[in-house]
């Protein structure tokens, strides 16, 4: 009846995950109970859970990401503190548990921390920057988000019911095959990633279509803000790479469930094929994450330097070059598996070539700042921190791309340091920069600067200390994923890394405090005009937070930096552009298709993990029924009357006019 699921699945013998999960569960239940009792649930349901508004969905993606980043960070604390006690001793986490923690850490951070953060920022900002009302497919957008959330839920359920994979964040066979991993851990991995992967793919399709087909009049390709370009490249990569992951994990699932022989290394199977397929997705994936972050830095650096982005076209070229090159380097992840000198040589060269367009980008950012009036806003600090630390990560990447060096350094702590160096400084710093930059746009008030700076300084110094120590540990010969060690030379560096984690923890706490403080002081942090940073792209041309329809009338774009052009004219003439002719606006109706789909997807995933076949069938029927109900609806859009559009727009025009008159008075004085 319940497949493999029995009471034994609850790891009563392992107190740590149970306690952790109990705390998380209690907090979650508490929050749900509070919203229901306080009567907020109907509001949440109508305005957020069923929302098809790209801004709300973007915000929900970012909230999911923040929560999952904290989950992943607690895994990191567990691992680092365990290592403090694992010198000539077994530490406090048994190996089978330690292995689950490093696997879950990687999975949570990459798939449910970094990915949703980047997708959330793109969802939020891209339609605004393109000057349009929503993405191409609003309901599909909601489906994508909820499928991602469903995957995240499954990974966290594995804390309490059953176990998680012990294979690392890429489940390499034959270890991940049923013979060596008979438990449900790898199955949790497979179904969580399959479900959220479909969500990611759909959101990629959605954003590519949006950027290529839904832009304001006059917004030709070479007038799009840089963030839209990097979003385009990143989403094209999603469309081209994620299906490979889906296929690969499907093969692994068939091996495990039905005794197929794709990767078993017996009956003709070939485990090397897994590595090829997985990294054919895996290397593009790192650029799926990094490219949007490059876009955020481009926006932030240009805004806070008060200058247009230097050599915009070279930046576009560099972005698209990275997009193509990222598909040509996957083999550098397994130089040591014996592809032979010639093959290794070719992939070494292609890998190193990626550093060229990346270098172009770095110089473009530097020259954007050169001669500018730089304001050191928190998001600018994150960008500067990125530039300083990222070049080190890029350099060690090039080092690892030299096959002879990689034979020594492969799967050492040096590798771990490399990819954390690039992932943290590009993706995480980019996420935080984007968060600080667009927060006022999303919520109508700025984040507290003092706490933001505390978060930055502790975050970056902790990061340098931890991963600096990792580089040295790698050079001292320590391999990745060790559960205990007895080399005296490593001891001091492991202690230092432990100290670095404490610094990072302070940064994380400061980040949380910043949010709380900012919410409480929101009145004094209000963004009245909708343009708090003196921005240059169209998202700053509308109110903060923007009305559902984003723009009362679609902006007409003449040239790059669409909003700057408008603003410059307004400043010159000390008057706003003429008021548009208001017309009624049609917007899509919120609907619960997304959550309902995700509900059934979670059922299917859980049922497949535990071999509860009838429940899986039920889940599929439910998903199909949802599709039919959605297809049969008669009304997809509602109309916002012109008078309402006018009222909303006039309110924003008033505050903008006041700000403008302030400029006028200052000029006169």
């Amino acid at each position: 009846m319940l497949g493999k699921l029995t009471l034994d699945a609850i790891p009563l013998s392992q107190p740590i995950p149970l306690i952790a999960a109990a705390v998380v569960g209690l907090v979650l239940l508490g929050v749900i109970a509070w919203t229901v009792i306080a009567g907020h649930f109907p509001y949440l349901w109508r305005e957020w859970i069923t929302s098809v508004d790209h801004k709300r969905i973007g915000v929900m993606y970012c909230i999911l990401a923040l929560v999952m980043l904290i989950r992943g960070f607690s895994d990191a604390i567990l691992m680092r503190s365990h290592m403090l006690f694992a010198y000539k001793a077994p530490g406090y986490l048994p190996p089978e548990h330690y292995d689950q923690i490093f696997s879950a850490h990687g999975v949570v951070m990459i798939f449910f921390g970094a990915m949703p953060f980047m997708i959330g920022l793109m969802n939020f900002a891209v339609p605004l920057q393109l000057g349009v009302r929503d993405v191409a497919f609003p309901t599909l957008n909601s489906v994508s988000f909820w499928l991602t959330a469903s995957g995240a839920l499954l990974v966290n359920v594995s804390l309490v019911v059953g176990e998680f994979a012990r294979t690392g964040w890429w489940p390499a066979p034959p270890l991940s095959e049923a013979t060596y991993s008979p438990g449900v851990g790898v199955d949790y991995y497979i179904w969580a990633i399959q479900i959220s992967g479909i969500g990611t793919l759909l959101s990629g399709v959605n954003l590519v279509t949006t950027i290529l087909k839904v832009r304001a009049p006059g917004m030709s390709y070479l007038r799009m803000p840089m963030f839209c370009w990097t979003a385009l490249a990143s989403n094209l990569l999603i469309v081209a790479a994620f299906p490979i992951l889906t296929a690969t994990l499907a093969m692994l699932a068939l091996d495990r469930y039905l005794g197929f022989h794709f990767f078993t290394d017996s009956q003709g199977g070939n485990s090397m094929m897994f590595m090829n397929l997985f990294w054919a997705w895996g290397h593009p994936e790192v650029y799926i994450l990094a490219l949007p972050a490059y876009g955020v830095f481009s926006e932030v650096i240009s805004t806070f330097s008060g200058k247009p982005l230097f050599a915009y076209r070279s930046m576009v070229m560099a972005t698209m070059a990275i997009f193509i090159l990222s598909f040509m380097v996957w083999l550098h992840h397994f130089f040591t598996m014996g592809p032979g000198g010639d093959v290794n040589g070719v992939f070494a060269i292609t890998s190193m070539i990626i550093a060229v367009p990346t270098g172009v980008k770095i110089f473009d950012w530097l020259f954007t700042m050169y001669g500018g009036r730089i304001r050191f806003h928190t998001s600018m600090l994150w960008s500067l921190g990125f530039m300083l630390t990222f070049v080190v990560g890029g350099a060690t990447g090039v080092l690892l791309a030299i096959p002879p060096a990689d034979f020594v350094l492969h799967n050492s702590m040096f590798l771990v340091a490399h990819f954390h160096n690039v992932m943290v400084s590009a993706v995480l710093f980019g996420a935080f920069a984007g968060y600080a930059y667009w927060f006022p746009k999303a919520f109508g008030f700025r984040l507290d600067e003092w706490w933001g700076k505390v978060a930055f300084w502790f975050g970056i110094s902790g990061f340098v200390v931890v991963f600096g120590a990792f580089y040295i540990l790698g050079l001292l010969g320590m391999t990745r994923r060790m559960q205990h060690y007895d080399v005296a030379d490593w001891r001091p560096w492991i202690l230092i890394a432990g100290f670095g984690v404490v610094l990072m923890l302070v940064g994380v706490v400061a980040q949380v405090v910043q949010l709380v403080v900012s919410i409480r002081r929101r009145e004094s942090l209000r963004d009245e005009t909708g343009d708090p940073w003196d921005g240059r792209a169209l998202e700053w041309a509308t109110a903060s937070p923007p009305p559902v329809f984003n723009f009362a009338a679609m902006p007409q774009v003449h040239g790059e930096e669409a909003y700057w052009t408008i603003k410059a004219a307004a400043r010159e003439q000390l008057s706003l552009r003429n008021e548009p002719d208001y017309a009624p606006i049609e917007m899509p109706i919120n609907n619960p298709t997304g959550v309902v789909c995700a509900f059934f997807a979670t059922l299917i995933g859980f049922a497949m993990i535990w071999h509860i076949w009838w429940l899986a069938v039920l889940g599929f029927l439910g998903a199909f029924a949802t599709f039919v109900v959605f297809a049969w609806r008669d009304k997809a859009e509602y109309e916002i009357p012109a008078s309402e559009v006018q009222r909303i727009n006039r309110a924003n025009r008033t505050t903008r006019l006041e700000a403008l008159q302030g400029v006028g008075r200052r000029r006169a004085a």
Binding site: G204, K213, L258, F262, G269, M273, M554, W632, D634
Partner: protein, 225 residues
């Protein structure tokens, strides 16, 4: 910001524009391409669905690649030459290609707003597609009965997966086809339903293209080898 306009050029002229355009203003007047603003919904939907189909084809590419790698991994079990029956496959191919034709006629009927013809053609498409699927399942059943089941060897694993994945797509397509018939019947020729039918047609034809790949790479090459 755009460069300072040189004399004789319209203001806002963008001399660095790649490709240029006839009005010399650096932005194309086509909708979705710049000056024209967002493309009409019909275009957006079909375009988005195309992108989705491309991603689906990438997934098939991964299965093709796996088949290519593992085709020699027969583990002393049956080889392709011993298994495939080209007449059977030719019949399958005929059914599927024909169904693409009838699907095309159904689309034309839809454009001409001829309900009866549309429904009839969709029904024929369904029958042909279901016939294809039945033949495929029969082939699978025969193979398994002869001991050539997917767990026998890596070659058979990849064969069943690649061909089965295509079959699964056809199965989903059949379900979709029925809901499209029902939607057009109950809701009439509404814009959103026309857009969906167009997507369905794209999907159905794409399955044909994939089948051509399966037919050549798996069956033809398999028999020749």
């Amino acid at each position: 910001m755009s460069a300072t306009a040189s004399p004789g050029l319209a203001p806002g002229h963008d001399p660095y524009h790649l490709g240029g355009s006839r009005d010399g203003r650096g932005d194309s007047a086509a909708t979705g391409r710049g000056a024209g603003g967002p493309a009409p919904k019909r275009i957006v939907v079909a375009y988005g669905f195309w992108i989705f189909i491309l991603s689906d084809i990438v997934m098939f590419a991964a299965f093709f690649a796996a088949y290519g790698v593992l085709v020699g991994g027969t583990a002393d079990g049956p080889k392709p030459q011993e298994l495939f029956d080209l007449t059977h496959v030719a019949l399958e191919t005929g059914l599927l290609l024909l169904s693409s034709f009838t699907c095309g006629v159904a689309t034309l009927a839809l454009t001409a707003r001829r309900m009866a013809l549309f429904q009839a053609m969709m029904a024929v498409t369904f029958v042909l597609g279901a016939g294809f699927l039945a033949l495929e399942l029969k082939e699978f059943a025969d193979l398994i009965a002869r001991g050539a089941e997917p767990s026998r060897s890596a070659f058979l694993s990849s064969f069943f997966t690649l061909v089965g994945c295509h079959g699964l797509h056809v199965g989903i397509g059949l379900l979709w086809l029925l809901t499209m018939m029902a939607q057009v019947l109950t809701k009439g020729f509404r814009d959103d339903i026309l857009r969906r039918t167009a997507c369905f047609a794209l999907f159905w034809h794409a399955l044909d293209i994939v089948w051509v790949g399966v037919f050549s790479v798996v069956y033809l090459l398999g028999v020749i080898a």
